[in-house]
Symmetry: C3
Subunit: 139 residues, 3 copies
């Protein structure tokens, strides 16, 4: 039984800035030697998200359009009225998608489909260097 | 301290094909003997989801309608234009709802309400046999 | 290696009743002595949610408006037609946002940003006293 972590600084674009971190998370799991457990991935910050998707430009564009439809960047937000930083939409997107997730580790591997990648997304209204961490627990 | 897993093949319908897996997850937890921990449930694949809901036809129909409203099946998707497989909406729905979740295990039981079930959903545009796995970690 | 839990009864308002529980979760982590692991937070019930957000009135108001837009309280729901309890919208909101999340614990601390709080929300159509639990696992 054990637990192991890694964390990284990841450069992400503005408004909907994605990056595939599957390789980093899979390497943590492989190096840990854990066969049965779970890995929790989190982005530290209230204007980003972690999810899974087939990491190809079409699906990312489709996700971006859906997110824009529910929480448009060009709208009035009470957060902006208070703080004047213009990223009210980023906070709402982040709270809806959430900044972390956990994935089973079974037989030493991330329990994901072939076309399923772990992706971090920055929703802030400017490019951000985000702290991303992952912890695997199990034995 | 220990970790235990089970996985299953689950037959699910097209577009919004749900199944209640609470019994399977609860059985894993009970058989593990773990009293304090967490269980992580994941569907392997980029066109499904795992969430909790009161598993009755009305609430499922309402959830389906909300999902259809945000990400309609009958719309144009960039993923479809590239890959021609017609399931662009499925990928977006999956990325928004996510394919996994974790639930606390307290006093040997899944920490859920009486009317709260763990449900896997297939959003693909055809029925799918999906791999679903769960891992409980704790002691 | 170990696992530790706490649970609480939390009084929450109707329709969109939030409370910041970051302090409670951070205290559990600190008292556990766990340096590397993950903490899973869950609300027991099918009409609430757990997420993270900058806990200030503006961002909460913006999140509420987005949730209302996708799943309006004043609409017809099949759940209501069957059960007559009027909280069909609450179930859908809960299934979309989910009632639990996990956060990495790295170097003994919750892996969150400075302006990122853990929040429980009640979506039910009446104020509710909700059971909320958290388990930290690691070493």
């Amino acid at each position: 039984m054990g637990s192991h972590y890694r964390n990284w600084m990841v450069d992400l674009g503005a408004e909907f800035g994605p990056e595939d971190i599957t390789g980093r998370v899979a390497e943590l799991v492989a190096d840990s030697g854990i066969r049965t457990g779970s890995v929790t991935v989190g982005l530290a910050g209230s204007t980003g998200a972690v999810t899974t998707i087939e990491y190809e430009p079409g699906a990312l564009q489709d996700l971006r359009r859906a997110v824009d439809g529910v929480v448009p960047a060009n709208d009035d937000y009470a957060h902006n009225a208070r703080w004047g930083d213009g990223n009210g939409f980023s906070h709402v997107r982040s709270a809806l998608l959430k900044t972390s997730l956990s994935i089973p580790v079974i037989e030493g591997r991330l329990y994901l489909g072939t076309w399923q990648q772990v992706v971090v997304i920055n929703f802030d209204n400017r490019p951000r260097k985000r702290e991303v961490g992952a912890v695997v627990v199990g034995d």
